[in-house]
């Protein structure tokens, strides 16, 4: 097997007395579709924030593409190829849809010393999302599903090797969920590695090749969707907690 794209080695994160992540170790292979599940407050988002750099983990290392990025700022990691979407959409609300995409494209391009054709690239991404006609609309006019798509599109505009989709489907209708999943599949087919954080089991199970489950900051299970479904700890974690 090939060298992992992302290695998380014994990462811990504390907030005051509370331990949000406790010595988590795992890895993500290049081109993999990776699922991250766990009940509310299990540390999923904390882990993502540590990977994307919004949070600094006190212990452990994060190795991306062979380089230790633990001490790097988010924008540096983005330039290195880690892009993420936000669970609660955070569009640049004073800009049009396409301008939203041009921000990462311009800055990441600059950082990598390449010159992207920002607008064209952006349009191409919007095409694949079926949002091309919205390109020049202000983001304030978008619907929920469109905002979620924008989150993914903007992340894509950063030309990532690894895309982290943070609950991109929460609160969407079944058919909208399928829409998003299809988009993620498309991206994956282009060789982009994808980490999907989801509550909607149906989605994760259908999408992921490999899944890990966090509970109270601990990694309690790892395996294929089938294995995870059968796993007793996972079951307990979910039944024990308020939602499933």
């Amino acid at each position: 097997m090939s060298e992992p794209l992302l290695k998380i080695e014994g990462v811990s994160k504390h907030f005051g007395g509370f331990t949000a992540l406790n010595n988590v170790t795992t890895f993500v292979k290049p081109g993999e579709r990776f699922g991250l599940i766990g009940p509310n407050g299990s540390g999923k988002t904390t882990m993502i924030n540590c990977v994307s750099g919004l949070l600094r983990n006190e212990e452990g290392n994060i190795i991306f593409n062979g380089h230790d990025v633990t001490s790097q700022k988010p924008h540096q990691r983005t330039a290195a190829g880690i892009a993420r979407s936000f669970q609660i959409p955070r569009p640049f609300h004073t800009m049009s849809v396409i301008e939203n995409l041009m921000i990462p494209s311009e800055f990441v391009g600059h950082h990598r010393g390449e010159k992207f054709d920002d607008r064209a690239d952006g349009m191409e991404i919007l095409e694949t999302m079926g949002m091309a006609e919205k390109a020049d609309d202000p983001t304030t006019d978008l619907t929920q599903i469109e905002l979620r798509k924008l989150e993914l599109a903007r992340a894509m505009a950063a030309k990532p090797k690894l895309l982290i989709s943070d609950e991109a489907m929460a609160g969407l209708t079944g058919q909208e969920v399928d829409e998003v999943i299809d988009i993620l599949f498309k991206m994956n087919e282009r060789g982009i590695t994808i980490i999907m954080i989801e509550h909607i089991m149906r989605a994760v199970m259908r999408f992921s090749q490999r899944i890990i489950c966090l509970d109270a900051g601990q990694l309690i299970a790892e395996g294929t969707p089938e294995e995870i479904v059968k796993n007793k700890d996972v079951e307990r974690a979910y039944l024990g907690s308020d939602d499933g």
């Binding site: 994307s52 919004l54 988010p74 924008h75 955070r90 921000i103 800055f107 903007r154 950063a158």
Partner: protein
């Protein structure tokens, strides 16, 4: 036409110079100086407040730093106006850089309060610095016949300018045009787009590859430097300066009010806001009782933020 804006700038500068030569009525230059000073202040504030969304409450502090840098330089070395502009800008710029690091931890109102605190601390320090007059203030006597590169700049007969006010007005016009040019350049550059992203969502911006801290530091430095330059000639203009007038809250308020009224998204907003509000204030304080002068600011502010969220510019934009 690509360089239209630059050409207009140059024309305006020439216009300002011609004005100093043909207009005999000194009053024009006093009013003009004050309004131009506000153009610079509003523009400077807007680079940070309008583009990046960081509200600077301590504008008066930056202006005063520029002013007192000049006072110190005059007392130490007796340097001329041009040097005063330069050094006032540098020192205030450094102060701006310092406040930039505050943005590491402080956002929104926290940042605003911090800048206010900074201004008050500076005022107290200046009030204790006897060398620049301390709390008692100090008189500044402008050089009798200042020369620049061997050219006699100010003299009733032989000078380029007949008197100091014309010289000050012309310099301030240059500074104002310069700072507006800078603001416009930032707005259209990658820097401006990055700052906009920061204003909308700093986390998202950072995660989309925007080096937020560096951009904010650049913005605070430029903004601070501009305010310092705006304050540099204050001592020469007043010929008497004390902390109360240099750190006057009025500057801080107008620096916020003017872009708000003009519109914060574009460089045009602060200019219009400064010209209108500054002009209205000058006019009101001379022709109506000046309680009403304050009232005008108040009412205009309330009305504009309520009915014209985007300021005058935004309002124009809508009514296309």
């Amino acid at each position: 036409m690509r360089y239209l804006f630059e050409i207009v700038c140059l024309l305006l500068l020439v216009l300002a110079f011609v004005a100093t030569q043909v207009i005999g009525n000194q009053f024009v230059f006093f009013v003009g100086f004050v309004i131009l000073q506000y153009v610079v202040m509003a523009t400077a504030w807007n680079i940070l407040g309008g583009y990046a969304g960081y509200v600077n409450f301590g504008s008066a502090g930056f202006l005063a730093v520029g002013a007192y840098t000049s006072v110190a330089l005059i007392n130490f070395l007796g340097v001329g106006l041009v040097e005063q502009f330069v050094f006032g800008g540098i020192i205030a710029g450094l102060l701006g850089l310092g406040t930039g690091y505050l943005t590491l931890r402080l956002r929104g109102v926290y940042f605003a309060i911090a800048t206010l605190a900074l201004a008050i601390i500076l005022e107290t320090i200046v009030a204790h610095w006897g060398y620049v007059g301390g709390a008692a203030g100090t008189s500044i006597l402008p050089a009798r016949k200042p020369e620049l590169l061997g050219v006699l700049v100010v003299d009733r007969k032989a000078g380029v300018f007949a008197n100091y006010k014309e010289f000050l007005f012309f310099l301030m016009a240059g500074v104002a045009i310069g700072s507006v040019w800078v603001a416009r350049w930032i707005e259209r550059s990658k820097l401006g787009r990055g700052l906009n992203a920061i204003k909308d969502s700093e986390e998202a911006a950072e995660c989309m590859g925007v080096p937020t801290l560096r951009l904010k530091l650049i913005a605070t430095t430029i903004s601070g430097a501009m305010m310092g330059v705006a304050g540099a000639p204050l001592a020469s203009y007043l010929t008497f300066i004390d902390p109360l007038s240099a750190f006057n809250l009025e500057y801080a308020v107008n620096a916020i009010a003017m872009p708000m009224i003009g519109g914060t998204v574009s460089w045009v907003g602060p200019v219009i806001g400064a010209v209108l509000l500054g002009g209205a204030q000058q006019w009101a304080s001379l022709f109506i009782s000046s309680e009403l002068n304050l009232l005008i600011v108040g009412v205009l502010l309330v009305i504009f933020v309520i009915i014209a969220p985007g300021g005058i510019v935004g309002w124009f934009k809508k009514s296309r």
